[in-house]
């Protein structure tokens, strides 16, 4: 069975409101102007990660890229210019919008508005041509993106793949959405960011192995039940790639669950984080726990930030404060606003 290693990571953010990232040189100012905030952050992280991988031109053409993305949104200046030019006698006019509104607007605005462009801008700049997907994510979609990348590598569709999430939670429309649903009132701190990991077939000498990941629908059932379902699915995903996985024995046995030393959480606000903490405490009472959401919630990026945190915990013995031996395994738990929980299973290289 092909195991899949996480070979490298890269991230930008989380940037809370008012702490904009420093501009990084990309291909051109024109390219920058066409990007939404999320596309720009994803492109910056992707450039760093591809730089670490240093693929040949032929390898770039086969490199997979799967990204959890939020709803893209245009720059406010362009949106307001478009709208301001669309009023007649104080009333919004569609004909005026279609004529003068469009004329007043940066014609590149359209490139910022499509969700898949969060992925495509960076892919074009880095000449990535392999299997791909932009999955809308309010948490679980980023798990799905990681799962697709995992499968693409395991099945041989590509030798290497990049996966993660990028989002801008500080855009006005998103802020309004978060406010309306009560997340801001319950303590969610919105932030912007992009986080990516690079996957490749394990060489047996890797730091961290991605064993499996899965998400499950949380609709119409208790969170614990949905989390247990996601966990069971992740365990099954850790089995052979192309066979029917229903009856296959999981690579994580009971003793492996006992060796989980780290839990990384990504949750939409304190209530969701509390629920995940309670689940983790009941299932893995001796594991150390880190909650990346406390640094700012990056929505579609949040799960990927938690994944990177778990990778770093497995890589860094200095971060282990409880046990004398380095823990062999880590689990990422995510719970987004969609209510669909996700689980990622990681092992330290050579642990299986």
């Amino acid at each position: 069975m092909t195991r899949v290693a996480i070979t490298d990571v890269a991230a930008r953010g989380p940037y809370r409101a008012g702490t904009a990232p420093a501009e990084e040189p990309l291909a051109s100012q024109r390219a920058r102007k066409m990007m939404s905030g999320a596309a720009y952050l994803a492109a910056c992280a992707l450039a760093e990660l591809v730089g670490k991988l240093a693929p040949s031109a032929a390898e770039r053409a086969e490199l997979g890229y799967f990204l959890g993305v939020g709803g893209s949104a245009g720059a406010l200046d362009d949106v307001t210019a478009l709208l301001d030019a669309s009023f007649v006698d104080g009333a919004f006019s569609l004909p005026r919008f279609g004529d003068r509104g469009l004329a007043a607007c940066n014609p590149l605005l359209a490139f910022q508005l499509m969700n898949n462009f969060t992925m495509c801008h960076g892919a074009i700049l880095e000449s990535l041509g392999g299997p791909n997907g932009a999955l809308f994510s309010r948490g679980a979609g980023t798990i799905a993106a990681l799962g697709e990348a995992h499968h693409a590598v395991r099945s041989g569709a590509c030798a290497r793949a990049i996966a993660g999430g990028a989002d801008v939670a500080t855009h006005p429309v998103t802020l309004a959405e978060l406010a309306r649903d009560g997340h801001l009132g319950r303590g969610l701190v919105p932030a912007d960011g992009a986080a990516l990991v690079a996957l490749a077939a394990s060489t047996g000498r890797d730091d961290v192995v991605l064993d499996g990941c899965a998400h499950a629908s949380g609709r119409g059932r208790a969170l614990v039940e949905a989390l247990n379902d996601a966990f069971a699915r992740a365990l099954r995903a850790a089995t052979s790639s192309s066979a029917d996985t229903r009856d296959a024995a999981p690579t994580w046995a009971r003793e492996d669950l006992d060796s989980v030393g780290h839990i990384a959480l990504s949750a939409w606000g304190p209530p969701a984080a509390e629920a995940l903490r309670a689940y983790a405490a009941a299932r893995f009472p001796f594991a150390t726990l880190v909650d990346v959401s406390t640094r700012g919630e990056t929505l579609a990026g949040g799960t990927a930030f938690a994944l990177i945190a778990a990778v770093e915990l497995l890589r860094s013995p200095s971060l282990e404060v409880v046990r004398s031996a380095r823990p062999a395994r880590a689990v990422v738990l995510s719970l987004g606003v969609d209510g669909d929980p996700g689980v990622i299973l990681l092992s330290r290289g050579g642990a299986a």
């Binding site: 004909p95 990535l128 791909n132 809308f136 406010a179 629908s217 119409g220």
Partner: protein, 404 residues
């Protein structure tokens, strides 16, 4: 290693500008009907294109994705006659964002505007709150439709929304097939929905300069000058169990052009790689493909390059493989386009009826392949290829074939 699980098409459904079901739509399409009309849902005076393949609705200001998808899903589910445990059912949908009301968008933009047009967080926090009540995530979120369908059909398996622009619907079907193949689920409700006949999308596509000023969708025609927006939903029920299915989803291919934000690779490289990957995945030679449901947008560049890619992949077989595009009759559904394209391909394999490219009168010599013009063609189609190529360069191709 165990054999790969096969993926059977158990049911299809569609809600289109021509009719509220797929059989009724297909019957009209076979006769050469076209759903493109002058827009009457709103005043499109001054817009770059004033025509669309719209569905008449009494609620033009409200998000229409869910009713469209719900209708198509109901039809597909009814035809499938499947029985599945909630945990073994997944929902996979190609969808982009829904729409908030105009007054809300305008109000939010103004509330956030500080000195010199810069974003003013303090002002926004103070003045945007009344508008927040009008932003309903269950309406504007891309994932809202898949979530609602999952709730209605009791799906406890994976619920995924693929936002890959024009390739969304095709990629969602591909992802559903992958989940069945891997044994993650046994049954998938999948497809795509587009409801983009609205001012914002017309504005966005108008900014790109890719709409037909004449309002005519005529893929591969010498006089084509851009696409026409359409809307609707197409859904499939896929299953690991064959039952009485006659068509299976046999191949998937997905690539990126890595070339340009709107223009395809000039040699059609990304498209050709996706087609080749789908054929390889299906274990079929190019000669086995009897019909290609082309992406065929009616833009000058796409159609010429797509035909180049078809010829490259099919080789000599391109001289006899029938080709048509759904967008001539139904317009471009964007996130739903790949799903209705898949229905064209399934229809050809299941019935031997190859639906035509409406609007095509005078084929461009640069797009010379065996087009289906005017009315449907009859043929013995063992396998068909359905292609979707998105803005941004994401390509997704599906191969369907008769069950062996």
């Amino acid at each position: 290693m165990a054999a790969r699980r096969r993926v059977y098409v158990r049911g299809v459904g569609a809600f289109t500008p021509l009719a509220p079901t797929w059989p009724a739509t297909a019957a009209q399409l076979a006769d050469g009907a076209c759903g493109i009309r002058e827009i009457d849902a709103f005043d499109a005076t001054g817009f770059p294109c004033r025509h669309a393949a719209a569905i008449a609705t009494p609620f033009p200001d409200e998000d229409r994705r869910l009713p469209y998808a719900r209708a198509a899903a109901r039809e597909a589910w009814g035809a499938a006659r499947v029985s599945v445990a909630p945990a073994r059912l997944g929902v996979f949908l190609g969808a982009e964002s829904g729409r908030g009301r105009w007054q809300t968008v305008v109000g939010l933009a103004r509330a956030a505007r500080g000195e010199a047009g810069a974003f003013d967080h303090t002002r926004f926090a103070r003045e945007a709150r009344p508008f927040a009540e009008r932003i309903d995530a269950s309406v504007i979120s891309p994932s809202a439709v898949a979530a609602a369908l999952a709730r209605e059909y009791g799906a406890h398996g994976p619920v995924e929304t693929i936002s890959l622009a024009c390739a969304s619907g095709s990629a969602a079907i591909a992802e559903a097939a992958r989940a069945i193949r891997l044994g993650e689920i046994d049954v998938a409700l999948c497809g795509g929905v587009g409801a983009d006949v609205d001012p914002l999308m017309l504005a966005g596509f108008g900014l790109l300069g890719i709409l037909s000023p004449r309002g005519v969708s005529c893929p591969f025609d010498a006089h084509r000058d851009g696409f026409v927006v359409g809307e609707g939903a197409a859904m499939l029920v896929l299953s690991a169990e064959r039952a009485d299915a006659t068509v299976e989803l046999a191949g998937i291919g997905r690539t990126l052009d890595a070339h340009h934000l709107t223009a395809p690779d000039p040699e059609g490289d990304g498209a050709a790689r996706a087609m080749t990957a789908a054929l390889r995945d299906a274990g079929l030679s190019p000669g086995a493909i009897g019909y290609v449901q082309a992406h065929g947008t009616s833009t000058p560049l796409n159609d010429r390059i797509e035909v180049t890619a078809i010829r490259r992949v099919l080789g000599d077989a391109a001289e006899r493989t029938l080709v048509s595009s759904a967008k001539g009759a139904l317009g471009h559904w964007v996130a739903g386009a790949g799903a209705v394209g898949a229905l064209y391909a399934i229809h050809a394999v299941a019935t031997g009826v190859v639906l035509p490219t409406a609007g095509l009168r005078d084929p461009d010599p640069a797009c010379a392949v065996p087009h289906v013009i005017g009315r449907a063609a009859k043929g013995d189609v063992e396998a068909a290829l359905a292609s979707s190529f998105a803005f941004g360069g994401a390509n997704s191709c599906l191969v369907v074939q008769r069950c062996g």
